[in-house]
Symmetry: C2
Subunit: 161 residues, 2 copies
DNA sequence: ATATAATATTACGGAAACCGAAATATTCGC
DNA sequence: GCGAATATTTCGGTTTCCGTAATATTATAT
């Protein structure tokens, strides 16, 4: 369509190089996939409950307990009871957890830097703009909650068959 | 440095949406990570030996045998002995395996298409060019084998401590 | 020709991370 | 106080990987 066809093949061929450089290995050893997602989600939300975590990473409650167990034992997240409702467990990153995220972002940043080394400044600028656009697109496309609720009581288009 | 700093945060926040859309789920259920890499590598190389596979996916031989066992049982790859050296096992994709790859590429293509929906044609063109550059950069950076072997018997730099 | 090396499979036992179901504990709201 | 909500614990089972060692088959070198 617009010349990305063959690029896809190229990217698939280089998938391994792209997503599994040496730098990732340590991370890969330290955490499972769900653990990484849990930490990242926690970093984003600052405070979440077990139920929220379960909804996000999409695992049974018993599994989530295990995941959190490990992360607590490793010292990356803190597990406290809510003051207002003592049934609820509140998760948050410890300082070590925050440091971990910082390091992770640093790693990603350096990795990107390496990958983008060949690009000119203009290309980088352009790429940054496009990346922003893509992320926004993603957000709208996969999470149109706000828009939905906003339009909820406005107009209801009815498809006619 | 060039405006990608905050973009990284944005991307991390959307990691899950980016890399684990609904479409991927079926794939995730059907294969382990190493299985996917094995199939993709096989598609790229057309024919490989167990040893080559092991070098690529970086697992013990006994594990690789298990991986291939599963993929053979599922009908995606064929396992034959080399005619010229009967110790060697030659792996190749079956027709069903090739179809699988085709579908996978199709999936990726559609997914990309969705993600890039917001971009103008010029932006897509530009992105294609940049992508090419990045991949080439990757190839040179992580696989300078040819250059190495060429220089092998030329000069040997000796580190002095 | 025989010993050695290379290639791969098989056979263990063991670990990590997950599933799902059921039992338990605490606490909240009514 | 009772039923619902929140989370943990327990338990048996599955998958996928690890690492070691034994075995089988074939190629190569002396």
């Amino acid at each position: 369509m617009f010349g990305l066809d063959n690029i896809i093949d190229l990217f698939i061929d280089n998938l391994k190089k792209l997503f599994f450089p040496e730098e990732w290995i340590e991370l890969d050893m330290k955490f499972s996939k769900t653990e990484i997602f849990s930490i990242l989600y926690l970093d984003k939300r600052k405070e979440i409950t077990m139920t929220e975590l379960v909804e996000y990473i999409n695992v049974p409650m018993s599994t989530a307990t295990g995941i959190v167990d490990r992360l607590v034992k490793k010292g990356y997240i803190a597990r406290e009871r809510s003051e207002t409702d003592r049934r609820i467990v509140v998760l948050r990153l410890t300082e070590e957890g925050s440091r971990l995220i910082e390091n992770l972002k640093d790693l990603i940043y350096k990795y990107l830097d390496m990958i983008l080394a060949d690009l000119t400044d203009e290309e980088k600028q352009f790429l940054a703009r496009i990346a922003l656009k893509i992320v926004h697109n993603l957000e709208n496309r996969l999470e149109p909650k706000k828009a939905e609720t906003q339009n909820k009581n406005q107009v209801k288009k009815i498809d006619i068959e």
